[in-house]
């Protein structure tokens, strides 16, 4: 940690105050990526309830997950995969030498597009959020 703080002093670019576009892209891609892989492992655990408890075990697990709290979690996952998909697509285009000189503009395009997709998709999660109880 002490080392980390010294690095920030030595490299002002590492201080969020001085972040430029590329650092925000890097940070958002990383946070969304780590969140998605943590979800994936939990998702495998939740779905294999069928291995541990058969049809009844699976149905009980799925019913238990029908709460407002988990809908919020699903919505956050939707946020993460939307940005990670669109930004990852941008990175692959840049790998193929497409649009590299305009990467800053492309990042903000991806950011705006993500916001539009999330806003449009939120309607479906809102339906679910309203339909489910806080707890069983």
């Amino acid at each position: 940690m002490a080392q980390g703080r010294r690095d920030v002093r030595a490299y002002p670019d590492l201080n969020p105050k001085y972040y430029r576009t590329g650092m925000w892209s890097y940070l958002l891609h990383r946070i969304s990526g780590v969140a998605i892989v943590v979800f994936l492992l939990m998702h495998i655990w939740e779905i294999t309830s069928v291995t541990r408890g058969g049809a009844e075990g699976f149905n009980a697990t799925m019913a238990a997950l029908e709460t407002k709290g988990f809908v919020i979690g699903e919505w956050l996952l939707f946020l993460a995969i939307t940005f990670h998909s669109l930004n990852g697509f941008r990175l692959i285009l840049h790998d193929l030498k497409l649009g590299v000189r305009k990467q800053k503009q492309w990042f903000w395009t991806v950011f705006a597009l993500s916001a539009v997709v999330v806003l449009a998709g939120s309607y479906y999660f809102l339906q679910k959020f309203l339909a489910y109880p806080w707890s069983h």
């Binding site: 069928v50 049809a55 998909s85 697509f89 998709g121 679910k128």
Partner: protein, 112 residues
């Protein structure tokens, strides 16, 4: 070609596959009928169609590879010399998770 370059290339191949697979899966689960109850019967019906069984099986493998290899990249940013150890630990987690996850797929595919 060096192993790390293969990992770089496979990260991109799985990325392109996941763009398709994740959104098919997420779309069916969340946008077709958002408030429908997820049950064993309905999941069995869905997974016993060849196309959807293929989507979910591929999703399990490509998702685990892409996610855990991404985690390896994160680890290497903080511990540049941990490549070998990270490959082993994450590799084992990946194989175990893929094997255990496929027991669920198998349960649905063989259900009456």
């Amino acid at each position: 070609m060096k192993a790390s370059l293969w990992l770089w290339i496979w990260q991109r191949i799985t990325a392109v596959l996941l763009l398709l697979l994740v959104w098919i899966h997420f779309g069916i689960m969340h946008f077709v009928d958002p408030t429908v109850e997820i049950t064993f019967a309905a999941s069995t019906l869905r997974l016993q169609s060849v196309l959807y069984a293929l989507v979910d099986s591929l999703l399990l493998i490509t998702g685990l590879f892409h996610g855990l290899n991404g985690l390896r990249n994160v680890i290497l940013d903080y511990w540049p010399h941990a490549g070998r150890a990270a490959s082993w630990v994450l590799g084992i987690i990946g194989v175990v998770a893929a094997a255990y996850g496929s027991t669920a797929l198998f349960a649905f595919l063989t259900a009456k």
